[in-house]
């Protein structure tokens, strides 16, 4: 299948001019364009990732506009999770550039990368809660990027605004009554809801979700996806999620990126795709 270019933001950096007056005019034009065009939250150029001699993907390029919900689909081993982790700077890339919220993740120092990460959230397939801690402490820890230090290690020490923010996030996922329950005493669906609360508590600009309902039964999976997208749509957050569920990719994604044969083989709006188009990626 041919890759279809998607509708993304125009680059406003090309308006750089030497003349001060023209520059001032350019700045006005840039601001005007910013107001008119959705800014780019994620820009990937020529991204290549190898694990030793094994190539996972190569020369992957795309841009994601603010507020877009993008589904990453593809068979096992095509590098969906690796791509997601590369975008967050959790693993080094072999080649290419990833710019998240304007920051080149490879070129930034540790503080720069942390500053970007304070504006993102992650929901993982395995939920990744700290099992021995309470639900509320797990959610409070979602604020650690913005408020580092021991006060956010545990809900008991956390400042009142943080505790209230965590309770509000738990209320949004319907688990306010479970605040003091240990995280390892929750069902799979409840556990994933807590993970969503932890991801949204810091009001991130970008949310990454790596197969968020892969470990849940179909009913719980549907509930979690519906809740997740209800919350993020309200806040205009950019979402990148991986899924093997074709219906989820088409229902919840504005755009679908299909990975196959070490590269992006499909890039199209969800509305223009059918389930058969996506099944082709798994052949």
């Amino acid at each position: 299948m041919l890759a279809t270019p998607s509708l993304t933001a125009l680059s406003v950096t090309d308006l750089n001019v030497a003349d001060p007056i023209a520059q001032a005019v350019g700045q006005v034009q840039t601001k005007a364009l910013d107001a008119l065009v959705c800014p780019v939250d994620i820009e990937v150029q020529g991204l290549t990732k190898h694990f030793g001699a094994t190539r996972i993907f190569s020369d992957v390029s795309f841009r994601l506009a603010r507020g877009e919900a993008v589904a990453l689909v593809g068979a096992n081993g095509t590098g969906k999770s690796t791509l997601l982790r590369s975008l967050m700077g959790l693993i080094p890339v072999t080649q290419g550039h990833v710019r998240v919220l304007g920051q080149d993740m490879a070129a930034a120092n540790a503080a720069g990368v942390r500053a970007v990460r304070t504006r993102i959230g992650l929901v993982s397939q395995k939920h990744n809660l700290v099992p021995r801690l309470s639900v509320l402490s797990n959610v409070v820890q979602g604020l650690l990027g913005q408020y580092p230090g021991p006060r956010h290690w545990c809900h008991s020490f956390a400042p009142e605004p943080s505790r209230r923010a965590a309770m509000s996030a738990l209320e949004k996922v319907g688990l306010a009554d479970f605040a003091l329950r240990r995280a390892d005493r929750l069902s799979g669906g409840q556990s994933q809801r807590v993970a969503i609360a932890r991801a949204i508590v810091g009001q991130p600009q970008i949310l990454f979700a790596d197969e968020p309902c892969a470990s849940l039964d179909p009913a719980a999976g549907e509930d979690v996806m519906a809740l997740f997208f209800d919350l993020v749509r309200q806040q205009g957050v950019t979402v990148v999620f991986t899924s093997h569920n074709i219906a989820h990719a088409l229902d919840y994604g504005d755009r679908v990126l299909g990975l196959a044969d070490g590269g992006v083989k499909l890039d199209a709006t969800a509305a223009s795709l059918s389930a058969d188009d996506l099944r082709g990626l798994y052949d």
Binding site: R117, N128, P131, L133, L144, G202
Partner: protein
């Protein structure tokens, strides 16, 4: 019919595989090393056969143990001091082991060079016996229980530092990655994800360290580092075998008691976690 009729013409392999020439040579070499070690250790069948009467003589002279109230009171207080040395040393050692282990654990905060240096230091600490550490601290701080406690602290760091580091390396990396993804600093990730995940293992290792500390502290008195060990030495030196037997029985009772207590605590903590 045998096995419900599942008979086949395929023959099973030989029950015991014939070793290769190289394996046979290896077994022969292993056996030679064992005999060489027995020879170096002065193993004597003659002495083994003649020792039971001498052992019976010692038991005869040691029983009944000395249970005079004055002796029991003195030994009881010495045993309390022994436990104080063990508990204080183990607790301080466990606390100090955590930062040491953070630097020893691979892929946590420090690079491979620092990991290796810290692990080598921990290996050195473990390689030196606790009684040797006690002798060193007797020279450094003088005779008495403080030297014994310092010996236990160092011995516990050597033991717990290595195992805590291994425990942290073995934890599920998922929670740590989720916190890293939201911009948490390394120290926050360790405090919030790595250490809580390793806590059951930490508690189990710490209880083993306490058992080890109690066993060690009972003999540190032999070199003047406090505790009940000195009473054992004096008992044997003065041929006061009944008192020595009382000391041995008290040590056995306390060590077995601590082992049971720590086993119970371990089951409670780890059992609850699962």
């Amino acid at each position: 019919m045998i096995c419900g009729g599942f008979m086949t013409d395929v023959h099973p392999p030989a029950r015991i595989e014939r070793p290769s020439a190289l394996s046979f040579l290896g077994y022969a070499l292993g056996l030679f090393v064992v005999f060489w070690c027995l020879s170096g250790a002065g193993f004597s069948l003659d002495k083994m056969l003649t020792s039971p009467p001498r052992f019976a003589d010692f038991v005869d002279r040691a029983f009944p143990p000395n249970i005079e109230p004055k002796v029991l009171s003195r030994l009881g207080w010495k045993m309390v001091e022994t436990l104080q040395i063990a508990v204080a040393g183990a607790v301080i050692g466990v606390i100090l082991s955590i930062p040491v282990a953070i630097f020893a654990a691979r892929g946590l905060v420090a690079g491979p060079v620092v990991n290796q240096i810290v692990r080598t230091i921990l290996s050195f600490i473990r390689a030196v016996p606790d009684i040797a550490w006690a002798l060193v601290f007797v020279v450094a701080v003088g005779l008495g229980p403080f030297a014994g406690m310092l010996a236990i602290v160092v011995d516990t760091i050597g033991f717990c530092g290595r195992f805590f580091a291994d425990d942290m390396e073995a934890t599920d990396k998922g929670p740590a990655e989720s916190l890293t993804a939201v911009g948490a600093r390394k120290i926050d990730v360790i405090a919030c994800a790595t250490i809580p995940a390793a806590t059951p293992s930490f508690i189990s290792t710490s209880l083993f360290a306490l058992e080890k500390a109690v066993r060690s502290s009972t003999i540190l008195g032999l070199v003047g580092a406090g505790g009940i060990g000195i009473e054992l030495k004096v008992g044997f030196d003065l041929f006061d075998y009944p008192t020595a037997m009382t000391v041995i029985l008290m040590i056995a009772a306390v060590v077995i008691g601590i082992e049971h207590l720590s086993g119970w605590a371990r089951t409670k903590v780890i059992g609850e976690q699962r």
